[in-house]
């Protein structure tokens, strides 16, 4: 498949965009453009292993490895080499695109080989750094429940910078930088090794087939990349020797304080009985998990990034459409707690009298309190940023956000009860996430196209609530029979 891509697909793709791409590569903004592009991929290669590793921070495997007669640095090196082929495919795809673009203008075999080498050096450096950072964090955080929680929280938030850059590129930041020729931005970008590679590619595009004309730049940039990779390898190895261990830095105990005014008010508002205690317990368990806070932060961050970089709707309905999918995601993240603690946690309710009824009731109220509140506040802030919005439509949209996000909670809970996700990395969790997001966004857009704005909102509410109700009924019966 890779050979097919390199020999046929890439040239065909390039052929269709050849004129525009060459005009860009030979323009003044080429360096900045290629620099940003490679930087995005560089950061992705660096963050992805870290993010992946932090989502499942465990030290049980590490304990087995470290008990074997193998040096910690060799373990990391083995991990790095093990994942190389998978990332190598991504490198081949990217390098293939550039070589396919430049070969027709006459770059020779040597320049082609150097471009491929540039991609290998840049991205494997990033992958190695990512692997080391992931390994060290895993070893440091995996030893305790609190550490694992911190790891999961970090794993989520680390995705934001990558998403931010991606949105910025999609939103035209690349053109802004290249057109303005922003000197400050160029200087900043030049500190990244990906930029050294980018300069080389642009130089080759400007001087195809003439390696002698750019030998100095080639020597400097390529040499810099080789030194960077070797230095990364050496530093990573040294760091692994010192920190890739299961040594605990210290023992600390987290303590629960006495119930604050918020919990006391909530308890009273819920009647002060056993059901109120169950809801308050859910709120405490939810609020003390950094992972949950980071997910809330992630949703808010995405909302901000969309507004800043991607699209800034100038009318309320546009804001509502963009927000819908995020409200759905929020509901999934909050309600997913119902099963992700595993079967044993569910069996607590199966053992208790009327336990499943209370579980569903308490999870709904808990989900509504967090999801609906966040959704309404987020929408209100976005609407208030509009230059002119009248009070009545403002309240109307907030009312819709209230009702629809409450419906997402019911639907998400129904999904999780019908198909319990015993881990947030499970296929079931993914299906629930995609399912709710699709219903929240795609179904809404389809309804808008078919029925117009007002009736689409009404129909969407009916759809969400009826689907949620059905799923909840089926799910309640399913969870009672779960074995």
């Amino acid at each position: 498949m890779l050979a097919f891509y390199v020999w046929f697909a890439a040239p065909a793709i390039v052929d269709s965009v050849f004129d525009d791409a060459m005009a860009f590569l030979l323009s003044q903004g080429a360096i900045a453009g290629v620099q940003v592009l490679l930087l995005v991929v560089f950061i992705w290669f660096l963050f992805f292993p870290v993010s992946l590793s932090l989502k499942d921070v465990e030290t049980n495997q590490l304990q087995i490895f470290l008990s074997a007669p193998v040096k910690p640095s060799d373990l990391l090196l083995g991990e790095f080499v093990g994942v190389m082929p998978f990332y190598g495919i991504a490198i081949a795809l990217l390098a293939g695109f550039f070589t396919a673009l430049l070969i027709p203008i006459g770059i020779g075999v040597v320049q082609t080989a150097i471009i491929i080498l540039v991609f290998i050096l840049v991205f494997f450096s990033a992958l190695w750094i990512g692997t080391v950072v992931a390994g060290v964090l895993r070893a440091k955080l995996g030893g305790s429940e609190r550490g694992r929680d911190i790891g999961k929280a970090m794993g989520f938030l680390l995705a934001l910078p990558v998403v931010g850059i991606m949105y910025a590129v999609m939103g035209g930041a690349l053109e802004t930088i290249t057109e303005s020729g922003a000197v400050g931005a160029l200087e900043f970008l030049s500190i990244f090794p990906s930029s050294w590679g980018a300069s080389l590619i642009v130089e080759f595009a400007a001087n195809p087939g003439s390696i002698g004309a750019v030998w100095m730049e080639t020597f400097m940039n390529l040499g810099g990349l080789v030194i960077f990779l070797l230095a990364s390898l050496w530093l990573g190895t040294e760091l692994a020797k010192r920190t890739y261990t299961l040594e605990t830095a210290g023992f600390g105990f987290s303590k629960a304080g006495s119930d604050g005014i918020a919990y006391r008010t909530l308890r009273s508002a819920m009647g002060g009985g056993p059901f109120a205690t169950i809801i308050v317990s859910f709120m405490k368990d939810y609020g003390r998990r950094l992972q949950n806070i980071s997910r809330l932060g992630y949703i808010i961050g995405i909302m901000v990034l969309i507004n800043v970089f991607l699209v800034r709707p100038d009318e309320p309905f546009g804001i509502l459409i963009i927000s819908q999918a995020l409200f759905g995601l929020l509901a999934v993240f909050v309600v997913g707690e119902v099963t992700v603690r595993g079967k044993p946690a569910l069996f607590i309710y199966r053992k208790a009298p009327r336990g499943i009824k209370r579980l569903i009731g308490a999870r709904l109220i808990h989900g509504w309190m967090i999801t609906v509140t966040t959704a309404v506040i987020l929408l209100a802030i976005q609407l208030m940023l509009l230059p002119e919005i009248e009070l009545l439509p403002f309240l109307g949209y907030l009312g819709f956000a209230f009702a629809v996000s409450a419906g997402f909670v019911v639907t998400a809970l129904g999904f999780f009860l019908v198909m319990p996700a015993f881990s947030d990395k499970s296929g079931e969790f993914m299906i629930a996430t995609i399912g709710v997001a699709m219903i929240a966004s795609m179904a809404f857009v389809a309804l808008v196209i078919a029925l117009g704005e007002f009736w689409a909102m009404v129909a969407h509410l009916c759809l969400i609530w009826s689907l949620g109700g059905i799923l909840l009924l089926i799910g309640a019966s399913r969870i009672r029979q779960l074995e």
């Binding site: 105990f253 987290s254 629960a256 044993p344 309710y349 074995e483």
Partner: protein
């Protein structure tokens, strides 16, 4: 003393065509106030039996009664009169011991006015009072086991099911749990149903034991009766004889071939 737990042809099958017989025609009677031990190798059906008797899972066939309540028709009543320490229990790690017990009390409708005192008493009993506000995530496995045992007792049930109650405890805590079980049986008149691999504990605590293997009850009686029936000297030997253990001469067979080749 009446019969408090009774099972009649209790079965639990899994898989296509009910190929896996986790519990197969279990007939058992446990008397009120008795401490009964269910022994068996891994996968024998002990935990499945306990889960059925606590109405967590439903039997494929047969029926059972706990404290006079039918597990199929009156599950809520059964759940109210039983407490369960599960083998792999769920725990809310971000709650403190006090908060978790308060939560469990709420699930079993323990009247609000007696909850604080009962939780404190149980924490005191298990020597956890000083760490009552520490989050459970920082507890050792043994300490978590104590909290779970306290949770099983929070609604003061008449029947207590303990699945491997001391497997994660240090000797001192195990001794305390053993003493507690004795007290609960002798002083409070509780019926206790213990599942365990640890034979000395069962031997010491249980009035009667049943041995289950591949879902079927293959021995029932007092420890002395079972030992004498098997013609062995100890419960351990009797257990191995009844359930079929690895012959001693086979234990190092795995290294013989390598040694011979070398």
């Amino acid at each position: 003393m009446g019969i408090i737990i009774r099972t009649k042809d209790l079965c639990k099958y899994y898989g296509k065509g009910d190929a896996i017989k986790a519990v197969d025609g279990l007939n058992l009677e446990v008397e009120e106030g008795e401490t009964f031990g269910l022994l068996g190798p891994n996968g024998a059906g002990k935990t499945t039996t306990v889960r059925m008797l606590n109405c967590i899972i439903k039997p494929s066939r047969g029926d059972a009664w706990v404290s006079g309540h039918d597990i199929l028709k009156e599950p809520d009543e059964v759940k109210r009169v039983t407490g369960l320490l599960a083998e792999s229990p769920g725990l809310y790690e971000k709650l403190s011991a006090y908060e978790f017990l308060e939560f469990m009390a709420a699930l079993y409708d323990v009247p609000g006015e007696i909850v604080p005192e009962r939780v404190d008493d149980l924490l005191q009993l298990f020597n956890l009072k000083e760490r009552r506000d520490h989050l459970l995530e920082g507890y050792s496995r043994g300490m978590k086991q104590k909290v779970l045992l306290a949770a099983a007792l929070i609604h003061d049930p008449a029947v207590l099911f303990l699945d491997e109650p001391t497997s994660t405890l240090d000797p001192r805590a195990a001794l305390m749990v053993k003493d507690l079980i004795k007290e609960l049986a002798d002083q409070a008149g509780k019926t206790i149903f213990i599942c365990s691999h640890i034979l000395p504990i069962v031997e010491e605590l249980c009035d009667r034991i049943g041995i289950i293997d591949q879902g079927r009850l293959i021995a029932l009686g007092t420890v002395d009766e079972i030992v004498s029936q098997s013609g062995k000297d100890t419960l351990e030997d009797a257990f191995m004889d009844i359930t079929g253990g690895v012959e001693e001469k086979e234990l190092l067979a795995w290294r013989r071939r390598g040694a011979e080749e070398a």
